[in-house]
Amino acid sequence: MTVEIALFCVLGAPLVQAALILLLPKPPGLRDLIHIGFSLFAAGCAIYLANAVAHGETARIVLARPLPNVDLAFAIDPLGAMMAVVLTGLGVLHAVHAAGVVRAKQEKAPARLLAFIALSMCGVTAVAFSANLFSFFVAYQALTLAAFPLVAHRGDEEARPAARAFLATLLASSIGFFLPAMIWTYAIAGALDFQAGGVLAGRVDAFTANVLLVLYVLGIAMAAIPPMHRWLPASSNGPFPALVAIQALAVLPAGGIGILKVVTFVFGTAMEQAVIAAQALIVLVGLGMIAAALIALSKEDIRERLAYSVMAQSLAVVMGALLAVLPGEYAAAGLFAAALQIVALACAASTLVMAAGTTAAITGRTKVSDYAGLGRVMPWTFAGFAIASASMIGLPPFAGAWAKLWLITAAAGSGLVWAAGLASVAAILTFTHLGPLAANALAARAPTDAFKRPDGASILLAAPVILAAAATLSLLVLANPLAEFLSPIWARGAP
């Protein structure tokens, strides 16, 4: 298999997967087999591509040329390959879990749900491998449209306005902010290709760089930057398999990847020109992290609490990327922190949402106050929940700890001590809304009426949770290899 074919497969497999699921919705066993099998295949292709990148290989596929000098193209690079491995790898666990949840909860239209999850995974993979701003924009829009049916899946009075808010926020911000920024970049540089060192490097003055940075950051609303975050809490009423895709594996990570790509490949050294906008955005993001963590504390519904919690974590990615404004080694440290944070967030958020999904499927409970003692009757699920909570808080040795360590080091080392302070406060607040909850679930007395389903959680529901939780430990040994793997991105013309 050549690298180009692997790239084509990792992008195309979810499309075939979705088509087959829709064409063969019954029997459920075949449907689930297709879903899991293709997810495995996509993950295998992603690993192959990461290996190819590690060996210095390159690949680029061009699907169309819709504009002069602008291709609809996808290419492999270390950042895209790493994200694809993490997201498609967790996607396999999610596929298994989704198969379990739709059976246990007897979700309506399960084939449609699984098919659009597959399409969303296709969207985020396309975002990760996009070779230029136009391809990123197309993939971003496609991901929005693919995730929209997930939010609207239930089709009731609650789901429809939520879906409208989701679509309106994401599409309007991308068209209102990102598109003008992209056109402006094209007018300045005459190209939209992602380049190591930044396509805008040496081509923009301070005013242009500041305005462009604001437009790009607000335009990538998938990163949930206030005030473009409304889609995230709005989507929290969807079915749990949809929530995993939206909050952990597809939509939210796509925002982080987009911010990283823009800062690294579009701005590069031109970030130094955008100091004012970057610092203002860091303030906004830092305050947003704190506000989101506080709001999470006030939420009684586990889905809403997790939505605000992952929002706070996602904003840490944006903060790390924006630290690239500072010259020297700490800029690279900020970018690395942002990349690690995406990985940590994907692992922890998918674990938490899957655990909540398992709990809802087995016990019918979605209220935080009803979680007390459930860890005693569902030990595997809540062990995973506790590990993921620890990672979100930033407790060592879990993944979130390393990401936050790099983030705070980068911020403090570059003189932005207040930014490090904001990140630290947010971490403490994350502890307040997740720590007691996990502890109470494990330590309190077990409820006598815990199970709605007397046979308990099947292996389809429990195993993915604990495996995803185990993945949060991976950065303990993988942080250094990942740093080496990603170093080519910012080694050439580093910001």
């Binding site: 609809l72 829009q141 049916p149 429809r160 309106a168 003008p180 056109i183 402006w184």
Partner: protein, 486 residues
């Protein structure tokens, strides 16, 4: 022998493009049953489309000489390009109208088809006319045929008469403006011949500016450009598919194409170019904003499409206002985008007799193909990437930014944002709501009438993916203004 006939036809292609629909219209009156009339009209329109595309390809690639082709006709790049577009749209609309022939009343269907062919002949005539007077005569032919088309619908819905009356009265105003404008411009330029106009020396710039502005204003009335679009909602709001196709798609497209052609000639004169630029830009800006706002608030699908067309017309005017070959090329691409989106939306709606937005609920389950067409049209109107709508707007923004017109880029973004709201609403209703009305579309063999609508939907995406040929044709056409070789 046949080669000689083909060469003869090619040599007289511009004349054929006008005469064929008129002969077809005459045939409608003697062809009997509605379906037979439809079949004959479809054949005539298809033959016209074939001739028009062949002629345009020859003219735009330089294989066939252009410019003066007779006493009354004069071919230029925009005329050749737009005539081919109109002829193709006419063929698709006539085939697409087949499934809803009974809506006009069985006996009235041949008359409605004849009027559609007259609309086509009129607008193509205006695109190929050799002087300003002929342009006005051809425009009025098309316009009055459109009024008749709306009025034919009165047997089904008396409100159609109101629409026809509004078209007649506002069209009369437009006619008067055009006539006065043409007279003033011809006086100032010393000629009304299109062949001489491009190279004419303007002796009285003030008079010429006033004349050109009045002509463009008159055409703007007929194109439904805001705020001169009061006839549009009355004519299209509760109309049959024949009317929406004939007036909403063909009529607006024809008027915009003729406006592009006239603007090309009058803006070539540096003495008056700046004034016309400003007028077009102002009119375009107002049209984008008003059309977008009204489309967002619309509760009727046909009205929504009409308002979206007003917004799109504004984008065309903004492109024209740039006055550069890049601007004219962008305008032509936008005309194609508008044609494809209008066909997809009107066709998809008429397949199920959908008029209000509420009737779209669950439409995807009842009529999946028609819903696909509407989705493609809506995405194009939004300016979603990989659709022809995105390409058109990108070209406008690119040309606008190149000229320093950042505000034009801003207006295009506004149009796209509005498109997200009204287009997204259509998609949400079709795919995520339960049906509340029965499907009224015809089945069986008449499903073939959905074919043209799907062709438009496919074109919307296909040209978004691979627009090379279209862009080359539009660029070539914009460089052949005045009948000059590229």
């Amino acid at each position: 022998m046949s080669a000689a006939y083909i060469d003869l036809a090619r040599a007289h292609a511009p004349l054929l493009l006008i005469v064929m629909p008129l002969i077809g219209a005459a045939l409608m009156l003697v062809s009997g049953p509605a379906r037979l009339s439809w079949f004959v009209a479809g054949l005539v329109a298809s033959a016209g489309a074939f001739v028009a595309v062949d002629f345009a390809l020859g003219a735009l690639t330089g294989a066939q000489p252009v410019a003066a082709v007779g006493v009354m006709l004069h071919v230029d790049g925009i005329g050749a390009f737009a005539a081919a577009l109109l002829a193709v749209v006419a063929a698709l609309t006539i085939w697409g109208a087949g499934a809803t022939l009974k809506d006009s009343g069985g006996a009235a269907a041949p008359l409605a088809l004849a009027l559609m062919l007259c609309v086509t002949a009129g607008w193509i005539g205006a695109l190929l006319a050799g002087d300003l007077g002929s342009i006005i005569a051809a425009v009025e032919t098309a316009w009055l045929a459109g009024v008749g088309l709306v009025a034919v619908n009165a047997s089904r819905d008396r409100a159609a008469l109101n629409g026809a009356l509004r078209m007649l009265s506002l069209g009369g105003v437009g006619f008067a403006l055009m006539l006065l404008g043409a007279a003033l411009f011809a006086r100032a330029a010393g000629t009304s011949s299109m062949e001489s106009l491009a190279l004419a020396r303007i002796e009285a710039p003030g008079l010429a500016s006033a004349g050109a502005a009045l002509m463009i204003l008159g055409l703007a009335v007929k194109a439904g450009v805001a705020p001169l679009h009061a006839w549009g909602v009355a004519a299209l709001g509760r109309s049959t598919s024949m009317v929406t196709f004939g007036v909403g798609a063909l009529g607006m497209l024809g008027a915009l194409a003729v406006m592009s052609r006239v603007a090309g000639y009058v803006m070539a004169a540096p003495e008056i170019g700046e004034g016309i630029q400003a007028a077009l830009a102002a009119l375009g800006g107002v049209s984008v904003v008003v059309g977008s706002v009204q489309a967002v608030g619309a509760r009727n699908l046909l009205r929504l499409t009409a308002y979206a067309g007003v917004s799109q017309a504004g984008c065309v005017l903004l492109s024209l206002a740039l006055g550069s070959p890049a601007g004219f090329a962008a305008a032509l691409v936008q005309l194609v985008a508008f044609a494809a989106a209008a066909l997809a939306l009107y066709g998809g709606a008429s397949a199920g007799r959908v008029q209000t937005l509420a009737m779209l609920d669950g439409y995807a389950q009842r009529a999946p193909l028609a819903s696909t067409a509407i989705t493609a049209g809506a995405l194009s109107l939004m300016g979603a990437p990989l659709t022809i709508g995105f390409l058109g707007r990108w070209r406008l923004v690119e040309a606008g930014v190149g000229a320093g017109w950042w505000w034009a880029a801003g207006l295009v973004i506004i149009a796209s944002l509005a498109g997200v709201f009204y287009g997204g609403r259509l998609i949400e209703r079709m795919y995520f709501r339960r049906a509340n009305t029965a499907y009224a579309g015809e089945g069986g063999v008449w499903r073939v009438a959905l074919g043209p609508v799907l062709v438009a939907a496919i074109a919307t995406i296909a040209w978004g993916l691979a627009p090379g040929g279209l862009l080359r044709a539009a660029t070539s056409a914009s460089l052949m203004l005045g009948g000059l070789s590229p």
